[in-house]
Amino acid sequence: MDVGLMPKTEPKDDPRFLSSVERGFLVLDALAETTGPMSLTELSKATGLAVPTLQRLTATLVKTGYLEKEPSSKRYRAAVKTVDLLYSYLSRNQFAKRAWPHLVKLREDLGLDVSLSVPFGNSMIYVHRLPGYSGNFENTLPGRRVPIHLSASGRCVLSFLEPSQIRTTLGSLPLSKLTPWSKVDIEEIQSEIAKCRKHGYAVVEQEASPGTVTLAAPVTRASSAIAGVSVHSPTAGGDFQSIAERVLPSVISVSRAISVN
């Protein structure tokens, strides 16, 4: 799947492709999928890699500072150096930099959680996440991934594809559920994407995170969508229709301001 800014995936069977590099990052990704440290056995289950391979990879990641081994439990956890990777992206990416002050203002205007996410594989990944209220902690962090079909900004990004492309893309995804409200029926998701295409924004209610309603608008470059600006509100916050009417003009205006021609 190639959506907007997403890097072109070249074949991994190219002789230049180094699979041990991919495996090393699989370890860090497994740790991002769960809370708390993991043992080699747990890492093996999560990554599908053999324990001896993992011993080598974890030793390398400890040596380079990205991983720490808890002396008491022999479990591994991501180390503070992983923050440097985030920083190197945020400080060099012109788009992420340009978007920040707009998001700060949007958060202040609305008093709600706001975020910017970009497509990454089968997910949307948060570039910025500005907490507006004390909600679920994990929702306040950058780097969180949400399956593209359950993400309001993901549906915005998909809405810029041709209908046939949307069908192919959805057909190729593992349409997983994150909550009891997650839509996993292709027709249903397609109709949500069609609504987004027509109205220029998407609303996702509790499909990615229980208790949260998200409204998103697409950020475009030329004729494709490269990101989504979202506002997140607690479902307990009241009638979402009235919230949507209140937030929509600001969200649309920010998404346009950071779009690129």
């Binding site: 890097p7 041990s20 090393g24 030793a59 920083y87 400080s91 004390s134």
Partner: protein
């Protein structure tokens, strides 16, 4: 026993932390003192995985969106950050100013959270920004809360950097500032890292005495020039830091 290919790929990513610009394969090779063909393989793999992206579809690279991912595991498992986040939001709301959280890594402080304020648009350094601990309010608050031997070790390994004209430039000034923050319970700096910006920071110490990091209130220097306001902000971060520490 370690994976050389993985080490080299991580070094390629780290080369981008040493440079402010997009880099070509040759420039990375020069920075890392590696052959271009070795760097080429790392770059190819990192681009395929999304850790590098081409700038404007050209031949030069910038860190890619996959770089956003590994930190999520670190942040979501961080109890200090989790406990402190509602306090940061509350501080930021109450004082209409920026609230941040830092931890000490070696001789540097690293930003793990920023609750922004509209008035603070000038201060755009993103998450993960590092500064020498001795030159910052939060770093000195952390040092002030540590045991003397640990503090001395960090200071001995630190080098004084003149980041702005206002940066403290002698060990004596730094040690005076640390003593002062031990007395008041919070540390203060004005324009030492960024012109026009000042902050107060207080260390968060767990029930077992572990120093977890610091929380900060920051804003324009005008706000902090007023001694009453500075004390008000200072005691607010001190109290919040104490409240967070109880849970850790």
């Amino acid at each position: 026993m370690s994976s050389n290919a993985l080490i080299k790929a991580l070094e390629v990513l780290e080369a981008f932390q040493k440079s402010r610009d997009a880099l070509s394969v040759k420039e990375v090779a020069d920075l890392n003192e590696e052959t271009q063909s070795s760097v080429q393989r790392s770059v190819y793999t990192l681009e395929t995985l999304g850790f590098l992206e081409r700038e404007d579809a050209g031949k030069r690279y910038v860190p890619g969106r996959a770089c956003l991912r590994p930190v999520y595991g670190y942040l979501r498992s961080n109890r200090f950050l989790e406990t402190a986040t509602p306090y940061l939001i509350d501080l930021s709301e109450r004082f209409s100013t920026r609230a941040d959280l830092t931890v000490l890594d070696g001789t540097e402080i690293v930003y793990l959270s920023r609750i922004p304020s509209r008035d603070e648009l000038l201060n755009l350094s993103p998450l993960g920004r590092r500064w020498p601990a001795i030159q910052t309010a939060s770093g000195r608050a952390i040092l002030a809360a540590m045991s003397e031997s640990e503090r001395e070790r960090v200071i001995a390994n630190s080098e004084i950097q003149k980041i702005t004209a206002h940066s403290l430039s002698s060990y004596e000034e730094i040690s005076d500032a640390i003593v002062e923050s031990q007395e008041t319970g919070y540390a203060y700096q004005s324009e030492e890292v960024l012109l026009g910006a000042a902050s107060v920071g207080a260390a968060v110490v767990g029930a077992d005495g572990t120093v977890h990091g610091a929380i900060i209130l920051g804003g324009p220097t005008e706000t902090f020039n007023d001694a009453d306001k500075r004390r008000l902000f200072g005691s607010a971060v001190r109290q919040a830091a104490q409240a967070i520490g109880v849970y850790l």
